[in-house]
């Protein structure tokens, strides 16, 4: 089984790499198998971590507690909530029937509204405010000076209400310079990790699979 696994891994690795030359039947097969496995992977993951862990198990747990007479009202209420959530989930299945598919907008609207509500506060609270406070720096230090001007000019670059001309245009232009330096640095920095991963895959082919090189 281990040998079979190794050869399958090797075969599919090469098939995916072959895409670099051009699209070909091997890549087509690998791509479809990969997508299928990953959809199946989601099924296992969601079944265990969502349907069982978040719905079935809590319901049965609350049921046990309720029948044991430990605050039955509370546990029955919890079961009610969970069943309601499950029912909202089931409403998504109306999408299978074109005539009734508009009903799925209810759970969808719930999720979207929820997301919007979370982000409205969490973006301002968790990201905006701390980042502003982080920019209150002592300017008598070259590093802080860079941060100060970098943040201000980047912000000005994103100002939409005025055409970028005159002083505003000049500052926005400095902003785009800052942005380009940062992006270049990030690009160059990421190259290392990407190459390492390629080295890892080549080592897998040459050392683990084909045993062409002995390590050490």
């Amino acid at each position: 089984m281990e040998i079979l696994g190794l050869w399958l891994a090797g075969f599919f690795t090469l098939s995916l790499f072959s895409f670099l030359y051009k699209d070909n039947p091997f890549y087509g097969l690998a791509e479809h198998v990969f997508a299928g496995l990953s959809a199946g992977y989601e099924v296992g993951l969601v079944y265990h971590s969502v349907i069982l862990q978040q719905l079935v198990d809590p319901i049965s747990q609350h049921w046990v507690n309720a029948t044991a007479g430990d605050h039955p009202g509370f546990h029955i209420m919890k079961i009610g909530f969970l069943l309601f959530a499950g029912a909202l989930g089931v409403l998504m299945f109306t999408r299978f029937f074109p005539k009734a598919s508009w009903i799925s907008r209810y759970p969808l609207a719930f999720v979207m509204g929820n997301t919007a509500g979370i982000y409205l506060m969490s973006e301002l609270h968790g990201r905006l405010i701390p980042q502003i406070a982080g920019t209150f720096v002592n300017l008598l230090n070259p590093l802080n000076l860079i941060i100060f001007f970098g943040v201000l000019t980047t912000l000005i670059y994103f100002y939409f209400s005025k055409e970028h001309t005159g002083l505003l245009g000049g500052t926005a232009r400095v902003g785009i310079w800052f942005i380009m330096i940062a992006f270049g640095a990030h690009f160059g920095y990421t190259v290392m990790g990407r190459i390492s991963l390629l080295i890892g895959q080549v080592q897998f082919i040459l050392i683990d699979w084909l045993k062409l090189i002995k390590p050490g």
Partner: protein, 291 residues
């Protein structure tokens, strides 16, 4: 007018909260009341921001002209779809690869709504591969509505939007295969992207497609900039839907953002001055403490 009630309710709620919060502030370190008073700073920021957005939306409703500068890239969306029509090739739209509970995805979906209007008008084939089932449901709804709005309900086909694979790189492998086989004339990628950004963008470039990308993930922007024709950076992604809609009402949010930006710049100038001169810098920082 339809907005007035929910908006009023929201404002009322926030306004009612403020005195309550102020009164309780500083009472003790352990919260015993109904509110997390230590979050007063976030509530105030949210209230000011909401008020600014509503003010500008109201002005737009009254018919005031709100100026918004050109956003490079967005003007190209229509041209790109037009080019696809001439070439008889499809348009590929990727609403990011994150779940629907990521705000970037919602921004991507609303841009999809505008793009689908254009493809419906020109009868250009549209293909939207998605990575999460919930995004699938929402994207199908969005595209279908756009086709109905343009009076082309019969050209809409449910499989224009399809679920591809749950795993990040399995998704990428499939979409890359599609790009090389079908050679879409335009790839529009709007939403949350991660390590796969460059895999998608380079393949699209090799396939000869016009590429317009937008993401708020700062780490992925350098790769989109290197491989795409136009890139929307950060905030521009969220501005895109409003900008593309040509609806003055939608611009209210954008103006509200700019209003906040002016306040933020002012706060940074004041805060930095106070820290540098040691005149109440710590106090200023404490105002922005979050828990």
């Amino acid at each position: 007018m339809r907005l007035a009630r929910p908006v009023g309710l929201l404002l009322l709620l926030i306004l009612l909260l403020i005195p309550e919060l102020l009164a309780a502030n500083g009472a003790s370190s352990v919260e015993t009341g109904w509110f997390r008073t230590y979050r007063i700073n976030a509530v105030i920021v949210a209230a000011v921001f909401s008020a600014a957005v509503l003010y500008y939306t109201q002005r737009a409703r009254r018919g005031d002209k709100l100026f918004v500068r050109k956003i490079a890239g967005l003007d190209e969306v229509e041209d790109a779809v037009g080019r696809a029509t001439e070439m008889g090739r499809p348009v590929l739209f990727i609403p990011g690869i994150d779940e629907i509970d990521k705000i970037d995805t919602l921004a991507g979906l609303s841009i999809l709504g505008r793009v689908a209007l254009i493809t419906a008008r020109y009868e250009t084939p549209l293909y939207v591969p998605v990575r999460y089932p919930m995004v699938l449901a929402a994207a199908q709804e969005v595209v279908q509505q756009s086709y109905i709005t343009e009076g082309r309900a019969d050209s809409y086909n449910q499989d224009m939007v399809c679920y591809v694979a749950g795993e990040q790189f399995a998704y990428t492998a499939t979409v890359n295969g599609y790009m090389m086989r079908e050679r879409p004339a335009a790839n529009i990628m709007m939403g949350a992207f991660y390590a796969e950004s460059l895999l998608l963008a380079e393949t699209g470039n090799a396939a000869g497609s016009i590429q317009i990308a937008g993401t708020a993930q700062p780490e992925q922007l350098p790769f989109f900039i290197a491989a795409c024709d136009y890139t929307l950076m950060g905030e521009e992604l969220f501005a895109a839907s409003a900008y593309l809609s040509h609806e003055p009402l939608m611009l209210g949010g954008l103006k509200g953002q700019d209003f906040m930006k002016v306040l933020i710049i002012a706060a940074i100038l004041v805060g930095t001055f106070m820290v540098t001169t040691h005149l109440g810098g710590d106090w200023m920082r404490s105002l922005f403490e979050v828990r």
